[in-house]
């Protein structure tokens, strides 16, 4: 598992929100990705888009509800194609599988396409520990590999980096002359990786979709690195979460319509590659072996909880990140693990432990924009509320994270609101307490937390002389005729 820093969310977000370069980079996520997504939707019309979403949702719902059947079907058809399927219950098992392949097949050089699951497993250090050279080939991943950082976005891993930072990085690590010309930097990456692609013994890819009907792995990419990783080496290893399967090749179409548009506004990526086993004897080239590593690593826990199950429908498009006001302000690293943003606030606690990531479900105003943006209509706010409930009400000390003060406040609030006499006493008390701080109907400095956190930048209304219920009783309840 990569280092977990989810417990630092509050502090990390307080820092990142003030980082001007990061804020500038993050602005592009809204004006760039999200705007492009909206344009792409407008182009096909809202009606058509809604039909696609509903269709995709139903496919995912059905598949996940019958995941055992489809995984078995997938396994059988991959095997029939001449591929080998490996099931890994956790990160350790998955890494061991890949490590064994590396060792037993004499693999010296590995080229990797983008795979969030492989980040989850922390696979690279394991392979490097065996003396293997591992090259991330997706440009964003390549950049963060050089920088020894983790991805900060599902689709654009190096989103947080300015071109000047990348230029410096290339200059330091690759020994090339400093240039912040973006085209030139892409050319540098192309040249640096060219030889690796063609010399690699093993290519590792992720999977956007797995088609059970035909035993196929599908990746959608733009750069060409995904194709090179899956075509040039003698061994191709696909690493995937178990939730990526869809029943039929027929179903792939709607997802290809939804995913690129949701991610970056593209109608379709430059490439869609479908791997159905190793090369056939008659093929001119291609890997001799195809291995599919299907990973659980805690997903069966999400599957088992009917309220969390739909988080497995996620197709990792990043649309929820792009529209989330919290993500837009604090960036991906503050979330402290592999999956940031709204979907991350659900997946990360589910995979690393709820108490470990207890801040994440609360770091949301529940505005619901994520749910609107989600191509498979995942009800993220509802799951956030569910996780908040778990954290607050669980009887297991390993999970329960409510500060004692908050529990007391909640009980007092409930008691007050359960007894109108207590409520009016409470109001009278507040009216007394506010005397020193209320001016012209406003309170500018509340004397205690949590209200003081509010008043550091915002005024509070003072409690007025009469509440509505008093006005009603005294003035309004008598007359029920229309006033003209």
């Amino acid at each position: 598992m990569p280092q977990i820093k989810t417990q630092d969310f509050f502090d990390a977000s307080a820092l990142s929100i003030k980082d001007p370069e990061l804020r500038q980079a993050l602005q592009r996520v809204g004006t760039g990705f999200d705007n492009a997504r909206r344009e792409a939707i407008d182009e096909v019309s809202a009606e058509v888009w809604e039909q696609w979403r509903e269709s995709a949702r139903q496919i995912k719902e059905h598949t996940i509800d019958h995941l055992d059947y489809y995984l078995e079907l997938l396994h059988d058809n991959v095997t029939k194609n001449g591929g080998q399927v490996h099931f890994a219950r956790d990160a350790e098992q998955a890494n061991a599988i890949v490590a064994n392949l590396v060792k037993s097949k004499g693999v010296k050089i590995v080229t990797k396409g983008k795979s969030m699951v492989s980040e989850e497993l922390s696979l690279n250090p394991v392979l490097e520990g065996l003396g293997t050279e591992v090259y991330e080939t997706d440009l964003g991943e390549y950049i963060i590999q050089l920088a020894n950082e983790t991805p900060s976005h599902l689709v654009a891993p190096a989103l947080h980096k300015t071109k000047a930072q990348v230029a410096q990085l290339f200059s330091d690590k690759l020994g090339v002359p400093y240039t912040d010309d973006i085209e030139e930097m892409a050319r540098v990456a192309r040249e640096a990786l060219r030889g690796k692609f063609l010399a690699a013994d093993m290519g590792i890819s992720g999977a956007n979709f797995l088609v059970a009907e035909t035993g196929s792995l599908v990746i959608i990419t733009n750069e060409g690195n995904g194709r090179l990783c899956t075509s040039a080496p003698r061994i191709h290893v696909g690493i995937t979460g178990m939730e990526k399967v869809i029943p039929s090749l027929h179903d792939l179409a709607v997802f290809l319509r939804l995913l690129p548009r949701s991610a970056t506004g593209q109608r379709l990526t430059s490439y869609m590659s479908m791997v159905s086993g190793p090369r056939r004897e008659s093929d001119e080239d291609g890997p001799e072996e195809f291995h599919l590593v299907i990973v659980d690593n805690g997903r069966s826990k999400m599957l088992a909880d009917p309220k969390l199950r739909e988080s497995l429908y996620c197709i990792r498009c990043g649309a929820c990140l792009n529209i989330c006001p919290v993500y837009q302000k604090v960036g991906g690293h503050a979330y402290g693990w592999v999956y940031p943003g709204p979907i991350g606030a659900i997946v990360t606690p589910s995979l690393v432990g709820l108490k470990q990531a207890k801040d994440l479900p609360f770091a949301s105003s529940l505005c619901g924009a994520c749910r609107e943006a989600c191509p498979v209509k995942i009800n993220i706010p509802r799951m956030l509320l569910h996780l908040r409930q778990e954290l607050t009400e669980s009887s297991e000390p390993a999970v329960n994270s409510t500060p004692a003060l908050e529990s007391i406040l909640a009980r007092c609030y409930t008691a007050t609101m359960s007894h109108p006499t207590l409520l009016s006493m409470g109001t009278k008390l507040l009216k007394l307490l506010q005397i020193p701080v209320a001016r012209n109907g406003r309170i500018q400095k509340a004397p205690f937390a949590p209200l003081s956190r509010w008043t550091r930048s915002r005024d509070l209304p003072a409690v007025p002389q009469r509440s509505f219920r008093e006005i009603w009783r005294q003035e309004l309840s008598g007359s029920n005729q229309s006033h003209q």
Partner: protein
């Protein structure tokens, strides 16, 4: 009674079944529509598809040309094979490359670019293994080439894509490694949308008792990235320049 040693697969699927509250694996009820379609049904759908494409061919060709251009293809509509060859010649000579690789597909019988290019002093290597050419040697030829030329297994109007399925005579790397890719598309390769391609693939898969080849690529424009400051750059690891020659 022999003891049942559970494999990682059994363990894995058991834990999935447990999570779903199921005792044993069983297919969904009712069965999933698209997994129940018979060969006859797929054949019939394919016939409808062919009819629809043939009825709308001109419109589809126009849409393909337009969409492909929007996606970054350089599109040439060639009225006949000579025009196509002329276009390929101009692209290749404009790039000043010494060597070109091509797949060994039917379209090259109709559009014999090889001879034309050789007449211009450009070496053309056909990617097909024989006694003289091993896989490795052919791979080196590809690496040494400035342009890769293929046909198209399908050309999709909806998306502006060319679909290429590596197999005998069609290498994975021809349309990927050289910095320029030219795709020769015949009218008969054109289909309307993604659903069409997948129907035809499924038909082939089931016709063959469960095989549709090892690989398939949709190519929709040149290679690109926006990973640095979300600024679009064309031509990263795949071809920087792609040409679609539409015959007819």
């Amino acid at each position: 009674m022999s003891s049942h040693r559970s494999t990682p697969k059994d363990e894995f699927l058991d834990s999935v079944r447990n999570a779903l509250g199921r005792q044993s694996g069983s297919p969904p009820k009712p069965p999933y529509l698209h997994l129940e379609e018979t060969l006859a049904q797929l054949e019939s759908q394919a016939q409808e598809l062919e009819q629809r494409v043939s009825d709308n061919l001109d419109a589809l060709l126009s849409e393909l040309a337009e969409t492909a251009q929007l996606r970054g293809w350089n599109v040439c509509r060639a009225a006949n094979p000579e025009a196509a060859i002329g276009y390929v010649e101009s692209v290749v000579t404009g790039l000043k490359v010494g060597q070109v690789v091509r797949s060994a597909q039917e379209v090259f019988d109709q559009v014999p670019v090889e001879r034309a290019l050789q007449n211009l002093g450009i070496s053309v290597v056909a990617i097909a293994r024989d006694d003289q050419h091993t896989r490795d040697q052919l791979r080196n030829e590809i690496i040494a080439s400035g342009v890769g030329i293929t046909g198209a297994d399908y050309a999709v109007s909806e998306t502006g894509s060319v679909v290429v399925m590596p197999r005998l005579g069609l290498s994975r790397l021809v349309s990927l490694v050289p910095p320029v890719h030219i795709a020769l598309v015949r009218a008969q390769d054109v289909v309307e949308n993604l659903d069409d391609v997948f129907l035809l693939r499924r038909l082939e898969y089931h016709r063959n008792g469960g095989d549709m080849g090892s690989y398939l690529n949709f190519i929709t424009g040149p290679s690109r990235t926006a990973d640095i400051e979300q600024t679009l750059v064309v031509g990263v690891h795949g071809p920087k320049e792609v040409h679609m020659v539409l015959l007819g």
